[in-house]
Symmetry: D2
């Protein structure tokens, strides 16, 4: 079962771009993570980490890049997720430029939950 | 003459912290820049860059660190600025943690305006 | 035809890690890029950019994460590449921790060559 | 008493630059930290962290920027340090571009030592 689609805005600053004039390719992984953390809730993530010693880790990321975002863009990060098993969340995430007709960047991100000893744990409930 | 005080929120994500558990010290310079760009206006900065070939550069940054921000914090970046001369803006910027009694990090940032050949140009008007 | 295997060392600093104690997942894309640039040659990349207006862009990146690198690690980035067509280079890249029995992180990176107008161009020769 | 001068090389990659064509200003703090960690010794820093729960934190950074480093540059980071007191190290660090007649960027960095509860501790001995 796939979640509803979530939207998250990312403003592109100097820090995000490289000398070719577009966003540095690794940075989209940061935007996708910000969007996921917004959905999971920063306060809940902090609680899980401090009280239960649980954190999330990316296990797999498949990214395709179609167009480079530029300084000044406000990207729309569109996210859905599905719980593939008790141990894995699969996130479909896209970065849309303003006025874009298709996503500039798309990714499939597999997330697992680890305890402080880096042992796999069941995915805690995600607030809706 | 000093501007009014502006506020800008920064959510602290995984990407912001380091293994000591607090925000990596260089990252505050990013947050301060985001706050300045919000004040100067992303659209106007893009226009200046594309149409007039003008960009801003940090000439001097004096930063003092009093407390480390943590994952999950929403920082309040407080900013004022003054035009010291036709060629230099001086920004006073602070990062406040939620519930903080004093700034976690403070900085004085000197900004100049450069053309594409890295020559000094007069500071363009800042929208209020 | 696949190239020989290249090795590139990456020292893990504070800046590389996040508060979970391991390297932030997006950073491996940086290490892989550093290794590719070492192979292609920084001076040649600068020449291509300045004289011919050519740069490289990641078109696709498939990354799998098996183990987190830690502060103080010296990673061994192992790289091979193959020219899939006149327009695409495919890089197989792995990050090995010291004493590791398998790669901590593996990636398949598709690279294309773009001119300043972001139009696809044939891949220039790679020095061996 | 001031230490001898140490040299550390930093290769400038895509990741380091921004869309204005030069190195993003916050990144010099990373290069200076890499140089300091090289001097203090990664293995010793790991040992201090794991066995004694001690880490270093930047308390103050005064940076002046004179020239922007570019993609392809190999910067020479020149570092000296002095122990100002039992609780504070002061580092003088410069980034030199190839063939430069003066430092592109200069910084004075104050470092303190903290335990896991963020309490000030005496600076441990630095290997020479």
């Amino acid at each position: 079962m796939t979640s509803r689609e979530y939207h998250y805005k990312v403003q592109i600053f100097y820090e995000d771009t490289d000398h070719s004039g577009v966003v540095y390719h690794a940075n989209y992984l940061k935007y996708f993570e910000r969007a996921r953390e917004q959905i999971m809730g920063a306060a809940e993530l902090v609680r899980l980490w401090r009280e239960e010693g649980l954190g999330f880790a990316v296990y797999r990321a498949d990214i395709s890049y179609h167009e480079g975002a530029e300084f000044g863009d406000e990207l729309d990060i569109r996210t859905t997720y599905a719980k593939e098993s008790d141990y894995r969340l699969i996130w479909t995430q896209e970065a849309w430029r303003p006025g874009g007709h298709k996503p500039a960047v798309k990714a499939l991100i597999h997330l697992v939950c680890l305890d402080r000893d880096k042992q796999l744990k069941p995915i805690p409930p995600i607030p809706d």
